[in-house]
Subunit: 363 residues, 2 copies
Amino acid sequence: MHVHDYFDDLTRRDWDTGTDGPDGTVRFAVVGVGGFARKAALPAIADGDYAEATVLVTGSPGDVEDITEEHGIERVLTYEEYHDGAATDAYDAVYVVTPNALHPEAIETAAGQGKAVLSEKPLAATVEGAKRAVAACEDANVPLMTAYRMQFDPVVRRLRELVGEGGVGDPLQLHGGFAFEVLGGSRGPDQWRLDADLAGGGALMDVGVYPLNTARYLVDADPVAVTATTRGEGVFADVDEQIAFQLEFPDGVTASFTAGFSGYRESHLSIRGTEGRVELSDSAFGTEDARRVSVYRDDVRAVVDGPETSEIREEFDYFAHAVLTGGEIAPDGEEGLRDVQVTAAAYEAAESGERVEIRYSRE
Amino acid sequence: MHVHDYFDDLTRRDWDTGTDGPDGTVRFAVVGVGGFARKAALPAIADGDYAEATVLVTGSPGDVEDITEEHGIERVLTYEEYHDGAATDAYDAVYVVTPNALHPEAIETAAGQGKAVLSEKPLAATVEGAKRAVAACEDANVPLMTAYRMQFDPVVRRLRELVGEGGVGDPLQLHGGFAFEVLGGSRGPDQWRLDADLAGGGALMDVGVYPLNTARYLVDADPVAVTATTRGEGVFADVDEQIAFQLEFPDGVTASFTAGFSGYRESHLSIRGTEGRVELSDSAFGTEDARRVSVYRDDVRAVVDGPETSEIREEFDYFAHAVLTGGEIAPDGEEGLRDVQVTAAAYEAAESGERVEIRYSRE
């Protein structure tokens, strides 16, 4: 096994094995039009092969005229119109990008209309909300995917193959951290990310889920227990401004993770195994950043600098391709629920000072 | 403040401010002659300005003839002879490099003879032993230093100045790990590092103390609480083969640390603060390795590759200089005791699954 075997033909779409690809596109209703939808998701949809945006759902229809024109949007709906079933002929699938607490009701409405759903992470602000979302899509027999964009970065997909085939031996210990200035740029304190009811928490819910979910994806296992420490003050009194959380996976594998809403940025992930070590950096989790993978084995370090592939475009095309071909969906709603269960356990651990076993019950 | 201000004149001995330096040398009895004494400490003493080795204390006098000749050793003593006070005229200070559990009795004997003591880390295998060692030296009014070689690496000393003067703002979150194959090379399972009674624990006691003590040194604070997870099996059934431990410092600062006795090597330390981030790598904690410091601030990364300075030579010269001049000793025995108190709390946390507050009591 050679490192370069994994990273040759790096950007290949392992999920797109047909010779011609499916006909047509999946038409999306984008539910929630904040900064991420505008600056990241809509351009990625426009850039893709199998997806297009045809409907916007927003509480401020007057504020989206610029992007309506730019992206050829057919209909702009209020939330009330969306929930009432307006213009369902104008879209095939729903992309939910509201504040976390509003995901379940947007997902339930989509499921009731028989639409496939792609929901931003975390799947919900609470375990109960995530369970509702999963149940609604199962009952309606519609696909539900949780939008973990990292899983669609081709560098990360290749890295998972390498780890899964023993590229570092058996994983032993992980480190990871993701932190940014949530109040940076034009973002003031009046944002939903600092509202515990809307967000479900702070740095852990917004950025801590990146090392969490990426680790679960790379080592293909779910954590069984967690300890955690949080802090927050001032405008962060309601949520975790900083969190350090330590996960136990089966067989005693551990992950030492941190997340932050203030202070200098950080974005790294590493896995040490019995036979080697891999690092994802520069930055590990940044939106649409080119990523560096370093693989250490024996006395060799191999470095692969990935291309500036849009993992969000890849994500939309993956989802749309699966919808068009009836293919498998991963990460699904169940995976999104599991991460919310981990975050709930982490907050319980931070509150109690005790190691909390994670309950993945569906009840 | 510029990064290069700290790393100009990098290898200067900030502790050696006299123009000529003291006269003479400190003559050491080296108590315990294992691999570290032979391969690292004795060459470092020989290379220094203020130290020389004149006496060896060993359980196997027949095995040290080669180094006796090479280093011009005057006397070789058995442990019994050492504890009985043989040849005390032949040495001024004692360097204790036995298995951890034997440090206190070697230190007590040295203190009883009025000799200054440099003891390897950790100071003892138990809190009780560390307290005995500190009390013996205080009662005899002799200097006691804990041999944290990292504190004498000039790169680490400069980094402490940078952090102490706000080079990363206020520290927020640390990550660190140190792991190596304790069974690698010619080292089999019959070594004291795998004996809980002699070592006081496993990976945490032997290598986990490096990120722990280096972090305390760099941020100039003591942790207040800890959670931890350990695993060990087979020849490691008695001790922690792997440990992940999460420390809380005052003001909610956290450190996410790991240590390991098996698997691929790891050696890194980073501090994320309100205004910047620093990383120590390549390798952060390896013996006599050249270290790389990366300082991130604003959008700039400054990298300093340190020289291959022997931090062990620096350590012996620092200690000997302090003994010759009556200067201050740091890290002292109290600091060594504190680290043993942290490790005891970490093991208690791993056993109970609970956050354990660290007790720094001297009682």
